[in-house]
């Protein structure tokens, strides 16, 4: 998003060394805040790193972040603005603010955003922020996801910007309201404390930095850093060919009762050092839970852009200045109250990111990224028959493949672009110890990756069997159809789609529709096929040795090698060898060794 940057006329007149030191210190503090959260959180969701931290300066400029989940980080600025707009000057030393409402700066309600103003000598000098996905925020469904809702009140408890701590005193009455409205108050209250701990640790270290470097030097360093970040992104955007590029991608559905496809359309206008993502023409918002708030659309657009530029471009207000987002109110990409939004950080974010990558594929000299596997998974909730404790698990073994690109294959089992590989898949042993289910398989699926000169990453199959009755099971996400599976680029083939099945104890096999809930019992087995990433470039141009490696690994079949890659392989496993002559014949090349 555009925001004014106090760009010095001649930036190098400022001490560039001091700026580097200040910028490093800010990053270290954001990381330290994240480390504090990782180590003190109570819910497993924080522990798989479903959270971010951030730092703003006194003017509200976003200056540092630790973004395990980039889609959450990208909306920190709007959360800050919501608090600043609501409270204005009524902000005091020792205050801590909270919000979760999507119409007050948040992406979606499960993420609680905590912001702390930091004062030095009575002056507001920084804000520290922590945002994470809570174990429950009221509403129905499983782990906060209810595909049957039609509006924001059904979706979750709505918390506008409020003062959670006032001048150092916890506002007990507010905490009581929150605790009474969630199913696992221990976890929610514990994790709020963990977030307060993180923003407090950050505040202390920022003040120590100010005391050491002095206010003026820090200010100059931040100015320089933001301007350098802006210039860095400007250089990257300038490397795209000017022009107007269009693409469309689709959501599988908008909720249990909102069938898809739902269209996200983007027009990317590249002009010099600036790019505009105009989503005009996207479908209207829906009476389901997949609506994206503007904050979420901006954050998703940010992923779309940052994923295809130099990974060293810092993510802050400086670099954000080089792109704009236009989205019509009332559409799937700019929902207006009271539309429900819980799924938007997953399915809608992914659809937006894909549309941007696809649109810019012709603008970037080496293309962008082929499609990544979307999130599409089961989650369960119930009461553990053995321990009597309630359990709720997102079985987010984020193990879909990522897409190929010019010069590199996709990664196996990296998960969705929502996290870009920042979240950790649960360990199967730990998972069995907290959920009454036996995991039978977590293994890559042969031929799941989209073929290409640079193939996609392979997706995994996850299968687990329930140990007990009375479990509520949700399948949420998307990527289940030919239209929504990871796309191939420049001749690369699409990856396999996501797919969920329930193998009932009585032998029935049911293919689950995306975004639906069902009761399950002992002996029922849930099977998820996670998508393979899309391929880049023609498969017949892939290095035969690379194909051989995959055949040896048992991940590309002999048939696919022959028919798709035009490579002939004899034998299996470590003993497999290339048949060079047959390969040359398949590829229509002269036989090796012949003139």
């Amino acid at each position: 998003m555009s925001s004014t940057i106090a760009a010095p006329e001649n930036a190098t007149a400022v001490d560039p060394v001091g700026a580097a030191i200040v910028a490093n210190r800010l990053d270290a503090i954001a990381e330290h805040m994240a480390e504090t959260m990782l180590r003190t959180s109570r819910s497993r969701i924080f522990q798989i790193r479903d959270f971010v931290t951030g730092i703003f300066d006194g003017d509200g400029r976003w200056i540092a972040t630790k973004d395990y989940i980039p889609v959450l980080a990208g909306s920190l600025p709007s959360a800050y603005r919501a608090v600043a707009e609501r409270f204005g000057d009524d902000v005091h030393d020792g205050d801590v603010f909270l919000l979760n409402d999507p119409y007050h700066g948040n992406n979606h309600p499960p993420d609680m955003t905590v912001l702390k103003p930091v004062f030095a000598d009575g002056e507001l000098v920084f804000w520290t922020a922590s945002k994470g996905h809570h174990a429950d925020v009221g509403g129905g469904g499983v782990v906060g996801y209810n595909p049957y809702v039609t509006d924001a009140w059904e979706d979750a408890l709505r918390i506008p910007p409020v003062r959670l701590v006032s001048r150092g005193v916890e506002q007990r009455d507010l905490w009581d309201v929150i605790a009474l409205n969630v199913r696992v108050p221990d976890f929610v209250v514990g994790d709020l404390h963990c977030q307060i701990g993180a923003v407090t640790v950050g505040a202390e270290q920022l003040l120590a930095m100010l005391a050491k470097f002095g206010r003026a030097r820090v200010r100059a360093g931040i100015d320089y850093h933001l301007e350098a970040s802006r210039r860095h992104m400007a250089r990257e955007v300038a490397a795209l060919r000017d022009g107007v590029y269009r693409a469309e991608r689709h959501l599988d559905s908008g909720g249990a009762n909102v069938p898809g496809p739902i269209k996200v359309a983007v027009e990317a206008r590249v002009a010099g050092e600036h790019v505009t993502f105009d989503f005009t023409g996207s479908d209207p918002q829906v009476a389901g839970y997949a609506n994206s708030t503007l904050a979420n659309t901006v954050a998703s657009s940010m992923i779309g852009l940052f994923a295809i530029v130099d990974p060293d471009v810092p993510r802050n207000d400086g670099s954000l200045a080089q792109f704009d987002v236009i989205a019509e109110p009332g559409t799937i990409v700019h929902a207006v109250a009271p539309a429900a939004t819980t799924l938007c950080t997953l399915l809608t974010c992914e659809t937006i990111v894909e549309a941007i990558w696809l649109a810019l594929a012709d603008a970037a000299p080496r293309g962008t990224l082929a499609g990544w596997g979307r999130f599409g998974q089961f989650a369960e909730a119930g009461v553990d028959a053995h321990t009597g404790r309630p359990f709720a698990v997102i079985s987010s073994f984020t193990l879909a493949g990522s897409g190929g690109l010019d010069g590199a294959d996709g990664w196996d089992g990296l998960g969705s672009p929502v996290a870009m590989g920042g979240t950790q898949a649960p360990d199967p042993e730990l998972h069995e110890l907290v959920a009454p289910a036996l995991i039978e398989q977590i293994e890559l699926v042969p031929d799941s990756a989209g073929a290409g000169r640079w193939r996609g990453g392979f997706g995994a199959l996850i299968s687990y069997r329930l140990d007990q009755d009375d479990v509520t099971s949700l399948w949420y996400g998307g990527g289940t159809t030919e239209q929504t599976a990871p796309y191939g680029l420049r001749g690369g083939l699409p990856g396999s789609p996501n797919w969920g099945e329930v193998h009932h104890a009585d032998g029935r096999v049911e293919t689950v529709a995306p975004n639906t809930i069902r009761p399950l019992g002992a002996g029922d087995r849930m099977v998820s096929f996670m998508a393979g990433g899309g391929g880049y470039g023609a498969p017949a141009e892939r290095d035969p040795e690379a194909v051989l490696d995959d055949v040896r690994a048992g991940l590309v079949s002999h048939a696919a090698a022959r028919e798709v890659y035009r490579v002939a392989v004899d034998g299996a496993g470590g003993a497999a060898v290339l048949d060079a002559a047959a390969t040359a014949a398949l590829r229509g090349e002269p036989c090796p060794g012949q003139p």
Binding site: V17, A19, H32, S402
Partner: protein, 702 residues
């Protein structure tokens, strides 16, 4: 007849040896390493010592009852991917545990880099039937036919090492044990590594990875040690060869050959131990050791003379859960490259010019500005005295390299050089601050011990930024790790996961677990010749609030029987520790027990303490050169470190040249030589006694 004790640290470039004994005191030696056959470098070093003593190498070894050995052989095998041809037996359905890497990517937005490749290719990972569940119930017997078939496939492929890692084997290792038996029948002579034996803890990914790394480096270590012992025997060595482990203790070759993974930090582990020994005469309660070499910067913390141990971590890109000294590494060394982002930000590292081509000033073809190039232009590092005069530095090459950075930043050459120095220092203080504050510690209560070629060049600046009042540069800083190996114990760690058991284990079953772990450690120590009365056992319990993933370790009082009261008393310390580390407690939340641990320790022989250094003449500089302080050059006296005797004191600005490093003494800082020979840096206006008093008052609860 004089009896000697020897430590040998084989590094990538040099093999360091330290000899200790009556009459000879303590002497250190350096010879070139011989990577094609590291044992040869060891023997060359022994010959150098013998020749220095004027005796035959055989008589040297006849008089040496123990050689302590640190080696990077396993680390190199792992980092250069030159380990054994390894196969893996996994639970059926879980072949891809390692390849999936828990779905993580360290550089999230970097899609151009290929994923780390597992040490075992997928076709050598075999899933076999057999399953235990979370309550240690056998749901399905081991599919022995599948094991045999896999073993035959391994034999066919020439597999040298087999790792076995089954689900929930930490609860019941029966299937792994039986599979090992079958594998040994089919593959006699193969190195077999069981996850339940190497890392008996919950978490399939880490346990599998540890077993695989152990298998991958095991045969390399086993063969190397056999080779070394044969050579030593030929030279009439009849004493014991002891190998340094990552946990800071030593073990016999028989023990480490089975736990090869525990030697991955064998070389660096001597550093913190030596550092603790160097500051021991000062009785400092808290010390932070930095070892800054060519490519990396290593940090460790010691409290009460004991270096922190962590239960595992990443080595290279491999997860390993085996207790190791808590040494954290950042990519900042003398060879770290300075560069400017497309937006105009100065960065230093993580890319390094390493030893080859090395910094531009080495004149070996490096053209990018490094930290050492900046140090040369700033006058900190001498152009002709670098590395003991073995290497003459090319100033013009350094100037060209730094000028390129300066041009990109739009500043002059010296500002750029100073900027590189300040930026790398800031990166290091950020990591030191994270290392202390994230453990609830205050860096100002620490002394900073500086080692490595680049450590003393930067130490004073780091201390100033962190408000650390005292820097200690050990006299034998150049052979720090080897020196540490002279003063180590036998150390073994045992662990058992108790998390997830229902009902939660009580005093009786925990007591049993500790007793079993102690018994296993006792047997190991006895095998190493430690008498039962010499062995010490530290029992601890890892605990967390219900639902947390990270746990805190609580020690049990030594020797007391495990009763419910003792447990309650121990657990009662949890909230205070949680508050110290994380700033808050969770009232009313239950605790859950995760692991019980035992650390067993036995003396590995006494070493002569380093003899005190004699007082010398008043310090006299051997020269002068311009060095950059406070934004300008000042004529700065240069002293030779070895001429400074005990009690010598000088004030900055000054440069003190050691054999492989230079101590930078900025203005306002004084250097005092301690009776032990260590160089102490402190504020010129702060009397040393006062500084030491302040650090002693910082206190420590062990």
């Amino acid at each position: 007849m004089t009896s000697y004790r020897l430590a040998v640290d084989v590094g990538g470039t040099f093999t360091d040896l330290v000899l200790s004994g009556e009459r000879v005191g303590r002497r250190s030696y350096k010879t070139s390493s011989t990577p094609h056959d590291p044992a040869e470098g060891v023997v060359n070093g022994l010959r150098a010592i013998a020749s220095d003593l004027g005796i035959a190498v055989e008589s040297l070894l006849e008089r040496t009852p123990a050689i302590v050995h640190g080696t990077t052989i396993t680390t190199n095998a792992l980092l250069t991917r030159s380990g054994a041809r390894t196969g893996l037996l996994a639970t059926r359905g879980f072949r891809d545990t390692l390849r999936l890497r828990q779905g993580l990517r360290a550089r999230q937005f970097d899609s151009r880099t290929a994923p780390p490749q597992p040490l075992v290719p997928r076709w050598r990972v075999h899933g076999v039937g057999g399953r235990f569940d979370r309550r240690a119930r056998e749901l399905e017997p081991l599919d022995e036919q599948a094991v045999v078939a896999a073993a035959r496939a391994f034999a066919h492929e020439g597999v040298e090492a087999v790792a076995i890692a089954f689900l929930f084997s930490f609860l019941d290792p029966a299937h792994e044990l039986r599979a090992a038996e079958l594998v040994r029948q089919e593959l006699p002579g193969a190195y077999v590594s069981l996850s339940a034996a190497i890392a008996p803890e919950v978490r399939l990914y880490e346990r599998t990875s540890t077993a695989v790394v152990n298998a991958y480096v095991g045969p390399i270590l086993r063969d190397y040690l056999t080779n070394l012992r044969t050579r030593l025997k030929q030279l009439r060595f009849g004493g014991s060869l002891l190998v340094m482990q990552s946990n800071g203790g030593v073990a016999t070759p028989e023990v480490v050959a089975e736990h090869a993974v525990s030697t991955l930090l064998s070389g660096p582990a001597g550093g913190p131990i030596a550092s603790a020994a160097a500051v021991a005469p000062l009785e400092l309660p808290k010390a932070m050791t930095i070892d800054m070499g060519g490519t990396s910067f290593e940090v460790s913390l010691a409290r009460g003379g004991v270096t922190d141990v962590r239960p595992g971590g990443l080595l290279g890109d491999q997860a390993v859960t085996t207790p190791m000294l808590d040494i954290s590494t950042i990519g900042a060394g003398g060879g770290s490259i300075a560069w400017v982002t497309a937006g105009g930000m100065l960065r230093v590292g993580p890319q390094s010019a390493g030893a080859s081509p090395g910094p531009a000033c080495y004149g070996r073809g490096g053209t990018q500005a490094t930290v050492t190039d900046a140090g040369l232009l700033l006058g900190y590092v001498g152009g002709d005295s670098f590395g003991g005069g073995e290497l003459s530095l090319a100033r013009d090459a350094a100037e060209r390299a730094v000028d390129a950075v300066a041009a990109e930043l739009g500043i002059d050459r010296l500002s750029a050089a100073a900027g590189i120095y300040d930026t790398v220092n800031a990166a290091m203080t950020d990591s030191l601050r994270l290392a202390t504050v994230s453990r609830g510690l205050d860096p100002r209560e620490f002394a900073l011990v500086a080692a490595g070629g680049a450590g003393p060049v930067h130490a004073a600046a780091l201390a100033a930024d962190l408000e650390i009042p005292l820097v200690v540069v050990p006299r034998d800083a150049s052979v720090l790790c080897a020196a540490g190996m002279l003063v180590t114990d036998f150390v073994h760690h045992g662990v058992r996961t108790v998390y997830g058991r229902t009902p939660a284990p009580g005093a009786a079953s925990l007591g049993e677990a500790w007793a079993e772990l102690e018994e296993a450690a006792r047997a190991q120590l006895e095998q190493e010749g430690v008498a039962p009365w010499q062995a010490r056992y530290r029992r601890s319990l890892e605990v967390r609030y219900v639902g947390q993933v990270h746990q805190l370790e609580l020690d049990l009082p030594e020797g007391e029987p495990v009763t419910a009261a003792l447990l309650d008393q121990t657990l009662a310390r949890f909230p205070a520790l949680h508050r110290e580390r994380y700033g808050h407690v969770l009232d009313g939340v239950e605790l859950e027990l995760v692991n019980v641990r035992v650390e067993a320790r036995g003396p590995a022989g006494e070493s002569e303490p380093a003899p005190p250094v004699r007082p010398g003449e008043p310090p006299a500089p051997r020269g002068e050169r311009d060095a950059w302080f406070d934004g300008r050059f000042a004529p700065t006296p240069v002293f030779a470190g070895e001429t400074l005797g005990a009690g010598a004191r000088l004030e900055g600005p000054a440069l003190v040249e050691l054999r492989t490093s230079t101590i930078v003494v900025p203005p306002g800082t004084a250097l005092t030589v301690a009776p032990s020979g260590s160089f102490l840096l402190h504020g010129a206006q702060a009397p040393l006694d006062g500084v030491l008093d302040r650090l002693h008052a910082g206190g420590v609860s062990v």
